[in-house]
């Protein structure tokens, strides 16, 4: 019996997840709405002073993105575990890490990409200068896949538990601190007119490492959490 070629298996997983997400478009909008609402809370909480909002804009947008992604992460494998398709994936002859990598990619496209699209709008609401916007977008383009990858490992670990939402925050927070520091550092440096390439390069290096290691770790974590 011959197996499906690797590329077409990857494409099938990706297409399936994207189709499922598209059928439930309302779920894609949720993180975006959430981020929008959190950002509007800042001027209410801190006062509408332009200079203050401008100073916190980069960090506030990054933290909001992180929280929105955290909420969406919880659902990454849930429906697949409930309907048994994840177990089919684990039994399939193709390497599990690669299949999970495709699932993570699909998840990133459906949750992080819409967030990145509205990020300049959110930052604009807090008066971030237009010149800094590209740096913010670069930082998000590199840091959100990192969060997706690390989050996927942790979600996989909690896959066998009932209550995982709060626990996920507790586990992800320590690991994402460096990501937030470098991403916010790049935006802050750009805002002050300093060179901002170094923190972006660090994020890129971390992303490359996570791209290689995280799917493998994710597969190992799922095996631990599900096979018992």
């Amino acid at each position: 019996m011959s197996h499906a070629p690797l590329a077409s298996a990857c494409a099938a997983v990706l297409r399936r997840d994207l189709t499922l997400a598209w059928r439930r478009r309302g779920d894609i909008v949720m993180p975006v709405l959430y981020a929008l609402i959190v950002i509007t809370l800042f001027p209410f909480a801190l006062g509408p002073e332009d200079a203050l909002l401008q100073r916190i804009a980069g960090g506030a947008v990054l933290v909001t993105m992180l929280l929105a992604m955290l909420l969406a992460l919880d659902a990454m494998f849930r429906s697949d575990i409930e309907d048994g398709s994840l177990e089919q994936l684990m039994l399939s002859p193709q390497p599990l890490a690669l299949m999970l990598g495709m699932k993570i990619l699909a998840h990133w496209i459906t949750t992080a990409l819409p967030l990145i699209v509205i990020a300049p709008l959110l930052a604009g609401m807090l008066h971030l200068p237009a010149a800094v916007m590209p740096v913010l977008v670069y930082a998000l383009l590199l840091s959100t896949p990192l969060l997706s990858l690390m989050g996927a490992v942790l979600v996989a670990l909690t896959a066998g538990t009932r209550r995982s939402g709060m626990l996920l925050a507790l586990m992800l927070l320590p690991l994402c601190v460096p990501v937030v520091i470098f991403a916010a550092g790049a935006v802050a440096a750009a805002q002050q007119g300093l060179p901002w390439l170094a923190p972006i390069a660090w994020l890129g290096a971390a992303l490359v490492m996570a791209l290689v290691l995280a799917p493998l770790a994710c597969a190992a974590a799922l095996r631990i959490a599900l096979d018992a």
């Binding site: 670990l157 909690t158 626990l167 631990i224």
Partner: protein
């Protein structure tokens, strides 16, 4: 290479043998911890001279620094035990890793509390977002994440394996905590005790510090062995050796 060392280790890793071994070692470790702790406190609080800059306030380091070392040391040990438990599926390694986590979290918590108690008179603030302080707080969160994940599974061995995996992932933070003082030049002072080369600390202050470090190590052993013994009993509660112990204790 003598053959008895691997043999001894191998035998020790069986729960009844370790239960007996830990029962013998534990009172000694506890006694050593109390004695060396008392000596270190006397040496640190009474014998050591006051610091030329900080006066008597620096004496908190005799608690603060050994606890900080222990926070990192236990994390490393927990990660090693986790690795062993994942690779070789040794039950004892799982128990050691999971029972180390609360002790390490407690040491980290003490480090944070004593640090902020010292920070108020010295730096004029309870807390600052300094690199070392923040990374130490992150270390506490890592411990809490491991403990939380362990307890969120219904099957304890499955929980232990998942939490062990998390502990290994979290190890990337340990070098960040350790080197944070050197990498980011912020409020927290650099390290003064060196393993290689002479320490930048007076001998009168150094020996109580090292004695206290030994005391915390002994305390860790005593505490860990006590916890592991209890855990082994409850994990193996259906086994013959636990029944024998229960019957013996019941008669006595």
């Amino acid at each position: 290479m003598a053959n008895w060392i691997p043999l001894w280790v191998h035998k020790l890793s069986s729960p009844p043998n370790f239960y007996r071994f830990a029962g013998i070692v534990r009172p000694w470790a506890l006694a050593l911890a109390l004695i060396s702790g008392a000596i270190a406190l006397y040496g640190g609080l009474v014998l050591a001279p006051a610091d030329y800059q900080q006066g008597d306030a620096y004496r908190i380091i005799f608690i603060h620094v050994p606890c900080a070392w222990m926070g990192l040391f236990i994390y490393g040990l927990m990660a090693v035990a986790s690795f062993i438990s994942l690779v070789w599926r040794i039950k004892l390694a799982e128990v050691v890793a999971m029972e180390s986590a609360p002790i390490g979290a407690a040491f980290t918590f003490i480090t944070l509390v004593t640090g902020s108690l010292w920070g108020k008179p010295m730096w004029g603030t309870w807390w600052t977002w300094d690199a070392r302080l923040t990374s130490e707080l992150v270390l506490l969160f890592l411990y809490l994440g491991v403990i939380g994940l362990y307890h969120s599974f219904e099957d304890r061995r499955q929980g232990a394996r998942a939490a062990a995996f998390l502990a290994i992932i979290g190890i990337i933070n340990v070098p960040i905590v350790h080197f944070s003082v050197n990498w980011w030049n912020t409020l927290h002072q650099g390290s003064t005790v060196r393993i290689l080369g002479p320490s930048k600390i007076s001998g009168d202050m150094l020996w109580p510090l090292l004695t206290m470090m030994a005391a915390t190590k002994f305390y860790y052993i005593a505490s860990l062995f006590g916890r592991v013994r209890t855990d082994l009993l409850s994990m193996e509660s259906g086994k013959e050796w636990v029944k024998q112990i229960a019957e013996r204790e019941g008669k006595a």
